[in-house]
Amino acid sequence: MNPKVKIDKLNVHFGQTHAVKDVSIDVPENTVTAIIGPSGCGKSTMLRSLNRMHDLFPSARVTGKVLLDGGDIYDRKVDPVSIRRRVGMVFQKPNPFPAMSIYDNVVAGYKLNGRVKKSDADEIVETSLRRVALWDEVKDRLKNNSMELSGGQQQRLCIARTIAVQPEVILMDEPASALDPISTLKIEELIEELAEKYTIIIVTHNMQQAARVSDYTAFFYMGDLIEWGETKKLFTTPEKKQTEDYITGRFG
């Protein structure tokens, strides 16, 4: 089977900093791939190159290929906006739109496609919120401001907002690192469920989390991809010494 996302000799530079070095990874459809590695090793930078987020910062230079269903997203003729509709992103800190209600947050991205019928919007809101297990908690206050939710609820709202536009791939950059253990658990359960429909790539600092939620794991160190493969294998019989040191916590 062809990979959903094929990262092919990807390099990212910030001025003199070579943040991602010649990385190649295949991400199969409907799987969860975890990206682990010490702070500053280029995980976020890698992830953000998968939906052309670096376009916002003229300082970043991306070379190499990222194939989405075989098509290079960095092709000159490709509109980055259309890529971002197919590749959604959830951030480390929950970032709902504070001026909007819970309801409006969920449909914010969906409405970009044009005018939306109220009944369609209602349906999108309910299914998206149900998917992230937030519906029961907020169904009576959809019109309330999104800022009154707890941090964990806000993060699930952000995930709902992302899946409401029905992307194919969801990128998550440490989506639970700002949350308490119970909210974290909920997010992890959610990731497993979402993998039935979406292809998920998640950056995490938490090794247990990577082991729990992912099918594949990639280990980065100083911008290099040291090793990637099936999570079970990588965590039990890593090929490289560096990987073993890191996952056993022996890292300097």
Binding site: M53, K93, P96, L112, C158, V165
Partner: protein, 339 residues
């Protein structure tokens, strides 16, 4: 110690001399208490300066109320409800001035707001960093031009242009509207609106720029990641997040427009009348004070000008407090993150 900075931002009133500084330089033998004492003195002095500002303001307001009592007693509410301003017969109604100030300021703001917000968006969201910086400094430079120069330009360049080109055009094509009737004089409400618009654009633009810069990057990224274009990102994330701050900027601009004296006096025509037509000359509150204070014909006349000043003071105070509160709320929200 860092909490003193709040007091320091208040500029020191010139008339307020404090002896305590020199008297208190202590012969302290122990280093630590010396630092402590100096700190206390410093705190006391800055607090005194800050407090004296309030006292001066209160004294000024009090004096103005006292001086306006004659007209307040003589005319009551009629003062702001009547159009009869006749120093010879000692009857004073300030409505034409209030009308002139309100209409010229509001219209100027209505024109300046979209231009300013657009310019600020260009600086922060669209232009390359360096170029945006250049535009921002140019805009700020506009704010530094003395208002009499705007007035001079208004009278010598803009008013003739309005008279010969713009107003005849408006009369010919929109003359059926009550707003564009009458003869083209050049100096007019329209001229005041344009001058005020130009004068408030720098202030609204630069504050809006600050407000937009305070919008967290995470908000922009949220919109972009949903597949928003740059414009959609601005509409969905940037403007709503900054709306109270932008409103604050606009209200601050209103305060500036209402209080502006020199330039408006030079171009508005100084005719106390209430006309729907923007082509007619009009008059504003600051202008009548500036024009008439030196040759008041009676005690009541002076009192009438004082009462107009009092109204102006009250209005600008309220406007500024409102604007500051909005801006303060906005920056606090931004400092606390988008949580």
């Amino acid at each position: 110690m860092s909490n003193h900075t709040g007091d320091l931002t208040i500029s020191q009133p010139p008339g307020c001399t404090e002896n305590t500084v020199t008297n208190e330089t202590p012969p302290a033998p122990i280093a630590s208490t010396k630092g402590l004492n100096a700190d206390l003195v410093f705190k006391g002095v800055t607090a005194a300066f800050a407090f004296s500002i309030l006292v001066i303001l209160a004294l000024m307001a009090l004096e103005m109320v006292k001086e306006s009592l004659p007209t307040i007693k003589a005319f009551g509410w009629e003062f702001i409800n009547s159009s009869d301003w006749n120093p010879v017969q000692d009857t004073f109604g300030a409505l034409p001035y209030i009308w002139g100030s309100v209409v010229s300021s509001i219209l100027a703001l209505a024109l300046a707001t979209p231009l300013s917000v657009g310019t600020a968006l260009f600086i922060t969201e669209i232009a390359p960093r360096k170029f945006g910086g250049v535009v921002a400094s140019l805009v700020e430079l506009l704010a530094a031009i003395p208002s009499v120069i705007y007035g001079l330009w208004g009278v010598l360049v803009m008013a003739p242009w309005l008279q010969q080109t713009v107003q005849p055009f408006l009369i010919e094509h929109f003359g059926f509207l009550p707003f564009f009737q009458g003869a083209p004089y050049g100096v007019s409400m329209l001229a005041a609106v344009f001058i005020l618009m130009i004068m408030v654009i720098p202030i609204i633009t630069s504050i809006t720029k600050e407000v937009l810069l305070a919008v967290p990057q995470s908000q922009r990224e949220a919109a972009i990641a949903l597949g928003a274009t740059r414009w959609e990102m601005i509409r969905m994330a940037v403007l709503p997040y900054g709306r109270s701050g932008i409103l604050g900027a606009v209200i601050l601009g209103l305060g500036r427009a209402i209080g502006e004296t020199m330039a408006v006096t030079m171009v508005i025509g100084n005719t106390p009348q209430i006309s729907l037509s923007l082509l007619s000359p009009a008059y504003t509150m600051p202008s009548v004070i500036a024009n008439e204070f030196a040759e008041t014909t009676s005690k009541l006349h002076a009192s009438a000008l004082m009462e107009i000043g009092l109204i102006l003071l009250a209005v600008t105070l309220v406007i500024n407090v409102m604007a500051r509160l909005l801006l303060w709320g906005m920056t606090r929200q931004a400092a606390g993150g988008a949580k």
